[in-house]
Symmetry: C4
Subunit: 203 residues, 4 copies
């Protein structure tokens, strides 16, 4: 029992490290405009303002990964022990979390330009993949309550199963809508993390 607790602790700390680093690396996508030494203050202000897709993408990615961290957190509170299968399912989720700065940089660079549809679809598609990984991780833990604590209430377990499943079609919708209107696509992504933050907050 003692060893099991320690096990979960190290995995949580490791996962938290990856979440924290991935979130902090997002800020590296905020680029200083290169205007040369003679750029006037108003030119710099304009260049900074024109980078708004970067700021939107940064905030959306940061918020989404933060909400995921909170959920990861909540999931681990119900978990009693860790198996190798769970370790690798968690590793798959972390792989996708570390990838997030890449589509964020992509949408920052191409939003509102001809390549916008592809960049937005890749961005939303990353969150489809992360949602699937979350469901996979939860399934490894919760299927026949294999890794759950005995005091984890069954209705809470079911509520989590339902709420995780909802993420996949919603991000799929954002991915498909990228090919029609990139503003709708990023809007869905931004709306989703705010929605989840608000409902989590009220619980």
């Amino acid at each position: 029992m003692h060893t099991e607790e320690k096990e979960t602790g190290r995995l949580e700390a490791f996962s938290d490290g990856v979440f924290a680093i991935a979130m902090t690396l997002l800020a590296l996508d905020l680029k200083v405009p290169h205007l040369g030494d003679r750029a006037s203050a108003s030119e710099l202000a304009l260049a900074l303002a024109q980078q708004w897709p970067s700021y939107l993408a940064f905030t959306t990615s940061f918020g989404t990964v933060l909400v995921m961290w909170v959920h990861h957190h909540g999931m681990f509170r119900l978990i009693r022990k860790v198996t190798s299968g769970f370790l690798f399912a968690n590793g798959f989720l972390l792989l996708l979390v570390t990838v997030v700065p890449f589509p964020t940089a992509l949408i920052s660079a191409y939003f509102g330009k001809p390549g916008s549809a592809v960049a937005s679809a890749v961005y939303a598609g990353t969150f489809v993949a992360i949602s699937i990984a979350f469901n996979l991780l939860w399934r490894v833990a919760a299927h026949e309550r294999a890794l759950l604590r005995s005091d984890a209430p069954e209705h809470v377990v079911r509520a989590i199963t339902r709420s995780y499943l909802a993420g996949v079609p919603l991000y799929l919708l954002a991915t498909v809508s990228a090919f029609y209107n990139e503003y709708v696509s990023i809007g869905i992504c931004s709306g989703l993390w705010i929605f989840w933050a608000v409902i989590t907050r009220n619980k």
Copy 2:
């Protein structure tokens, strides 16, 4: 009670991770001068010396985030439990902390050049936003002592409330003064973290 303690522990560790990474990433803004293979020793020395705004901005940002970490530390010692609202208020603060390398790179690139006023205003403005986030976080915890430990002395709680409020107008002053004199603006920012470090040290 046991679960609550663990909860705070994981949030502290996660926050510490973000603070530590954000502080370390600041050093990526220190750029090696690209002078080509034939640059003489004195040309390299000169180029390094001319980068002094980078060093000042790095030190100021590092010092400011360090002082914030110390305060974050002190705040958590008074906190008994964590709610989802507190989690997201903390997330908002962390978002702004991870952003710090961006205005630091901006002021490093444009200080003393025509774009200086805008770069300095964005730099000081980031700390206005962080001060507001700190006040928000503290308010969520301390309003009607919602999340505080019962043994947290009321006069300490009030002293913290007062000292956090002071940050907002002081950084606003630095932001406004950027448009008149960039040296005054960065001087206020540098002075503030040193002042806070000294008064914290004497407590």
Copy 3:
């Protein structure tokens, strides 16, 4: 006894930090294609697709470091105390782990081009070095059971010794085969971490 436990704890946390950061920095090798503002959606999609060696290298490196972390994890469960020699053997392993993003970037840049053989050999060669470091670390701990817990079963200790030794010739094979066929070389590297993940999973 109490101090020894704490000792191992800090070393594990430090090592986990290095593993987590090295894994997250791998994502910095995923580059946004620079096609200019007028690139069409299909040009962007094509450019992203042509970067497939980056994605393969990223996944292989991430998976390999993840498997190593799981093994590092398993090794530490058998260890009772830490000596300075073990600390530096562990440091040598961590040095090589932090290096991984470099050969990953190298193979991403040169795979399928004339420089491919050298890039692939350096990539696989890095894992030869890491395998050697792992064996060294384990030898410091397990030779005459110097640092092992008294309750670590002898057959488990021997099984670990055997399984670690297998890594060296397999990665050497990948290194040599890089000069004949780069696809075989990266294929061995990818196959190995998947194989290890699967056998670990079934244990």
Copy 4:
């Protein structure tokens, strides 16, 4: 007493985070040679070989920071409590540790070229500064045994004081010798961390 222990724990974890990140970021200084798509395997091999100063600088910096981390580790085992003064002395040390990737990149870029003397002097000079910060931190803790555990043996405390003092003149020698011969300068820096690793190992 309980609160004090927790205090030290959080500071250690935070410091470990900064050490771990700074060590991992060093690897970002290892650059992939940009030779274009038609570079032959032998051209790539040559370009990689010519980057040897990068590898030497990376290894020296990693080894030096690792030895510092081990010493930081050893120091904290003797420490009973943390004051704000100690917190900021530790912060000053961490600031310098995060800076290390900068002189490492500098010496990687300019070693063996005309700017070599300045780059080597800045490199060694960074370690002079870090040695001073270490002595400062230890002084805050050990002066009149202010923050030490009561069971910390006096002869151990004195031995640490002596061994830390030795670092300053040795790195000063490396700094001065940079202006005569850069190989001697980096040789001293490399020799020192290996020497410290070996004597620590034998203790």
